[in-house]
Amino acid sequence: MPNDLTGQPSRDEDLLQAWRCGDASALERLLLKYQNRLYNVVARICSNPDDAAELTQDTFVKIIENIDKFQGKSSFYTWSFRIAVNLTLNHCQRRAKIRFRSFDSEAGELGESTTQLLREFMSDDKSPDPEDVAVNRELCEVVSACLLNLDEMHRTVITLRDIEGMSYTDIAQVLDIEIGTVRSRLSRARARLRRLLEDVLE
């Protein structure tokens, strides 16, 4: 059984087994393990940090309430993300909190270095340094805003793949769709995002 540095089990299934054997803290460790990743995905989809915190909490509560019913047909990882994404999408639809904005007017306000960096990332022949993105807050905001201009399903699939790094199979399980739908939806989402980013540069 793989253990972490403290000698505690670290694999999801081992933690679940430990919890089933009466180790109450194992479930808490399991939730802590995914806390930031779940929050990051939820925050990217719903775009509001306060809502994201509440939705992550709701996800954990649902996980705890339903953990007895979890039979391991999917991984705990995809199961928990499925709960989080469903809650978040329902929240977005119910509250209609995602506002669609045009960023055309903001393009001119981009700083020169930001514009240049974005051009590099939109080009086909350069290999821009991803570390430059992390330190360029303006570029992060522009990209985040363009993500928000995607419809929810496109934003979700891009978030799961390109930000969370999930496999197509896992995305299909999380969204309860065919893997072929993941392929086509992701392709369309990227094409759409690219057009939005190009609009910013024009």
Binding site: A24, E28, T56
Partner: protein, 314 residues
């Protein structure tokens, strides 16, 4: 699907490494032959790099504590429906007016009785029990009895917002004449004496403020129960459910089972008993009693609710 879309999907899957070996080799061969395909692949790779480089949002440090508090709030007796509120909220405004009119009648009768009390014994002519049964409310400053005595202490963010919601809820439900307000430094104390129905409607209107509550502590007692019952980290729903019971005794009993259920849940799942945040979530047997309240007077299902509003420390 058009040929262009097919190609776009193929390339998108290629940069994700989600093509079969044979398909991937085919794309690589095409990219060598056709510059446009090679460029498109690079563009897709750059887009992926750009997205992957976005900073990760980190969960707030207090999320775990908040989770524990929410778990505490979510404890409900699903199998046990709360007693229905007899009248919908809109009726309370009407009831309030009827109550106010009834109160005037009571005052007139009381004055009449007072005038004639020199001739006859007071008790024989003043129908105390009758008017109190008709009136849903008791004016501030007048003692109540037979009902629930509750003290709700709330630490809130956005103090003025919560205070505004509180005042609106009081006003909307016609409770202003039955509410004493005191300001003690940064703390506001509302003391409401009212019928259970009016308080349920008030709590419903006050519930939007609950999202600004960082800590909620409810101390319950009845004339007969003696020892107070203390609940921490309760939610707006739980608060309403407690008040929706048919009698003061049932409210206390419900609250007690709420505490028991919570303890059971925490034992089953997270080891909250050892955790810091929702602790203590226990029925208190402590000797410290709530501020003394005069419970003398006529019997009736009247409820006394003291709400202490405190701005949270941060």
């Amino acid at each position: 699907m058009s040929e262009g879309q097919d190609r776009e999907e193929l390339l998108s899957n290629f940069v994700d490494g989600e093509l079969s070996e044979r398909q991937a080799e085919e794309v690589e061969r095409l990219a060598e032959q056709e510059e446009a395909i090679c460029q498109r692949i690079n563009q897709l790779k750059n887009l992926k790099r750009l997205l992957a480089a976005l900073p990760r949002f980190e969960a707030p440090p207090d999320l775990n504590d908040a989770l524990k508090a929410q778990l505490a709030r979510n404890v409900n007796f699903d199998h046990e429906k709360a007693a229905p509120v007899d009248a919908p909220r809109r009726r309370h405004a009407v009831l309030g007016r009827i109550g106010a009119a009834a109160a005037i009648v009571v005052i007139v009768i009381a004055l009449w009785a007072l005038i004639h009390s020199t001739r006859k014994p007071f008790k024989e002519e003043l129908p105390l029990a009758g008017p109190l049964e008709i009136s849903p409310m008791v004016p501030a400053g007048q003692a109540v009895s037979g009902g629930l005595v509750a003290r709700l202490e709330l630490d809130v963010t956005f103090f003025s917002t919560v205070d505004t919601i509180m005042n609106r809820a009081i006003e909307y439900n016609g409770l202003s004449p039955y509410t004493d307000k005191k300001v003690e430094g940064r703390v506001k104390v509302y003391h409401i004496r009212s019928s259970r129905q009016a308080l349920i409607a008030f709590l419903e209107d006050f519930s939007p403020a609950w999202s600004k509550v960082e800590r909620a502590s409810l101390r319950l007692t009845t004339e007969d129960s003696g020892n107070p019952l203390v609940l921490e980290s309760l939610s707006a729903d739980q608060m309403q459910q407690i008040f929706q019971r048919e009698s003061a005794g049932q409210s206390v009993d419900f609250a007690r089972r709420l505490v028991d259920r919570l303890q059971e849940l925490t034992r089953e799942h997270l080891d909250l008993a050892a955790a810091r945040v929702p602790n203590p979530m226990l029925t208190s047997r402590e000797s410290a009693a709530p501020p003394p309240i005069d419970l003398s007077g006529a019997s009736g299902e009247l409820t006394e609710l003291t709400i202490v509003l405190r701005p949270s420390k941060d």
